[in-house]
């Protein structure tokens, strides 16, 4: 496996010496009927206190699986987790369910993609928040129910005392996701994993929920690990970004740098396939083909078969993650040519717009 360099630490985090979360060489395999499939391969990243890191990738790139592996939510019968996940210096890989319980919710909160299915349909919102409070603090149910109303207020749900007594089906999609955020906050965790928190919401609500999520985590100095495929979300929210493709990180660095001037051909294609006002009237860039399935990862660079810059050398060995001058790490052997535009492409490469994501 390639040598993995320590990710650059963002400006906000430079004060603290040790990262809050350090994921190193994380590999995840699943036992399936087709044999053991490695879906995540040598992923490393750090998260500093209060920082927001976005993991970006297409469906099937392994971003959600990586995030769920952090708190060992994957089925122990099916998933094999290798590598290291250190939270506040403590190794989480290999801990028992009993050892993980205080960390789940209390140290690391989780927000799921689809709030309707992530909330119990036959239990009130208030009860579900109180349940997390009771799990992590020595409080009576009565006190926990009172506190739950406070959390609903923090996520800007009107009439929180009455909403607390309602069931998930009585809330709108946006309000459900707010309630889910309240649940994740109620254990007062040091970091929150948000798995596509806005995907299931209307476009008009997405920005509000994202803003709320960023604000509530910043207020209490909690770090945010944002899993998304929406580069617009990343541009608005994240300090740093890690782009995943076929189970590997292909580019990671400051969000602004990566989005303004993507160095890996994959990130470049992702950025140029966002419709934008600047490129109106022109044909939208698409990436040909599909993400390969884990049993058919190509040898060499996994993006090579879909890459406009691919040359023969790309198909021989997996390129290592190499640092750039601005502290970024990029997994591509032609980074230089891609960046200065001298790489001959199979197809014409669309120009990267300066104001990349909206």
């Amino acid at each position: 496996m390639s040598a993995v360099q320590k990710s650059p630490v963002s400006k906000r985090a430079s004060a603290s010496t040790s990262p809050l979360l350090a994921v190193k060489d994380l590999s995840i395999s699943f036992r399936t009927s087709r044999g053991i499939l490695k879906v995540v391969d040598g992923v490393s990243f750090d998260l500093a206190p209060g920082e927001c890191l976005a993991i970006v990738g297409e469906s099937g790139s392994g971003k959600t699986v990586s995030a769920m592996a952090i708190i060992s939510l994957l089925s122990r019968n099916q998933a094999i987790i290798e590598g290291s996940v250190a939270f506040k210096g403590r190794e989480l890989v290999g801990l028992s369910e009993d050892e993980l319980r205080p960390i789940r919710g209390g140290g690391i909160g989780v927000i799921f993609q689809e709030p309707l299915s992530a909330l119990n349909p036959v239990t009130t919102i208030g009860e579900q928040i109180a349940e997390v409070i009771v799990a992590h603090r020595k409080l009576s149910w009565r006190e926990a129910h009172k506190l739950a109303i406070g959390y609903l207020e923090q996520v800007e749900i009107s009439q929180p005392d009455r909403r607390a007594k309602q069931y998930p089906h009585q809330l709108s999609g946006g309000m459900r996701q707010r309630a889910m955020i309240a649940m994740a906050l109620s254990g007062e965790p040091a970091m929150i994993i948000a798995d596509e928190p806005t995907t299931a919401l209307d476009v008009t609500i997405q920005a509000q929920v994202l803003d709320l999520l960023r604000r509530t985590t910043t207020e209490r100095g909690a770090a945010l690990l944002l899993i998304t495929h929406d580069l617009g979300v990343v541009a608005e929210t994240a300090d740093r970004i890690a782009v995943m493709y076929a189970g590997q990180i292909v580019e990671t660095g400051k969000a602004a740098n990566v989005l303004r001037e993507p160095a890996s051909p994959y990130t470049r294609d992702l950025v140029t396939s966002i419709p934008s006002f600047a490129a109106r009237g022109k044909k939208l860039n698409t990436i040909t083909g599909m993400v390969p399935s884990p049993d058919a990862f190509p040898t060499g660079c996994r993006f090579a078969p879909r890459c406009r810059y691919a040359i023969t050398a790309c198909t021989t060995a997996v390129p290592p993650l190499e640092p750039l001058n601005d502290g970024r790490l990029v997994r591509c052997i032609r980074t230089k040519e891609v960046l200065d535009g001298t790489a001959a492409g199979k197809r014409k490469a669309p120009a990267v717009k300066r104001e990349a994501a909206r």
Partner: protein, 306 residues
């Protein structure tokens, strides 16, 4: 406060109605549920308070010299007619037999569903070897020809001194829990993969609490639905076994052994002796099935979101 919070401030927040309350409302809004309950209610009323109005006591056995060869049809005094031989009032027999039949039906249903739910939750939630063992046990119980075992079991238990009533309830419970166990296990297995169970786990909620507060309430719907059907099944089962002569002895009247006793007189025109208990079996079975169907419709998960 954000714009949204301000915008919704004025709107009235809907009254919190639990999914159970919704189901109850849907149950009574339909036609089948209330009618089923009404029919069952009348049957219960007759069976429980019937003896108060009854002009004839079962215990009054006429002298052998007063035995009649054939019964008498319904009259003002005996609205359901009288039996042959002992000249018993058929209405009283139906009422007393109903007590036994309904008792058997409800106790057997409660018992078998309780055991089935327990086994299903343990097998589904804890999984692994325990699950394999319990499911093989279910297979074994299902593989046994139940009618044969019920007859033999009833005979053995009677020989051990059990009354017919106890015997038949025990046998029905022992051979009646497997369906519920499979049903509940399937529910629990599906629920275990649900995101809200995973979310509760991801936020550090204890497994026992997850089982009790998240799995059980969401798995119980189909069990509730199956209860009336189990009651009906046990009542019909009792009638069937007793008709064959292996159930409750003739000394304790049940709807089943009334059929058995009346059968030979049917061809001589004594239709009331067999007809009235038969009608009550059908009405009871019909009403519990209506209630079951209504419960199924009001507890349907798709309907829950409406």
């Amino acid at each position: 406060m954000t714009a949204v919070a301000r915008a919704t401030k004025g709107t009235k927040v809907q009254k919190a109605e639990s999914p159970w309350a919704q189901a109850r409302r849907r149950f009574f809004a339909g036609r089948q549920g209330p009618w089923g309950l009404a029919i069952l209610g009348v049957i219960f009323f007759l069976v429980i308070v019937g003896p108060v109005f009854a002009p004839y006591h079962v215990g009054e056995v006429p002298k052998p010299s007063e035995f009649v060869f054939l019964g008498r049809g319904p009259s003002a005094e005996h609205i359901f007619g009288e039996t042959a031989q002992l000249q018993l009032d058929v209405f009283m027999l139906v009422v007393n037999g109903g007590r036994a039949s309904l008792f058997i039906g409800f106790v057997a249903a409660v018992g078998s569903i309780f055991i089935g739910t327990l086994v299903g939750i343990i097998a589904g939630y804890f999984g692994g070897r325990l699950d394999s063992f319990l499911m093989r046990l279910v297979d074994v119980f299902l593989a046994v020809p139940s009618l044969f075992v019920i007859i033999v079991g009833a005979k053995i238990l009677s020989a051990l001194g059990g009354t017919g009533l106890q015997t038949i309830i025990i046998v029905f419970i022992v051979f009646g829990w497997m369906g519920t166990a499979r049903l509940v296990r399937g529910q629990v297995l599906a629920l275990r993969e649900m995101e809200f169970i995973e979310a509760a786990r991801a936020l550090g909620v204890r497994p026992i609490r997850i089982a009790v507060r998240h799995v059980l309430p969401n798995a119980i719907g189909p069990v509730v639905v199956s209860f009336p059907f189990a009651v009906g099944g046990a009542i019909i089962g009792e009638a069937f076994i007793s008709y064959l002569g292996f159930g409750v002895s003739a000394l304790t009247p049940t709807w089943g052994n009334m059929l058995s006793n009346a059968e030979e007189f049917l061809l001589q025109g004594n239709w009331w002796w067999l007809g009235f208990p038969g009608l009550f079996i059908i009405l009871t079975s019909l009403s519990v099935n209506m209630i079951g169907d209504a419960l199924r419709e009001s507890l349907e998960p798709e309907g829950r979101r409406a």
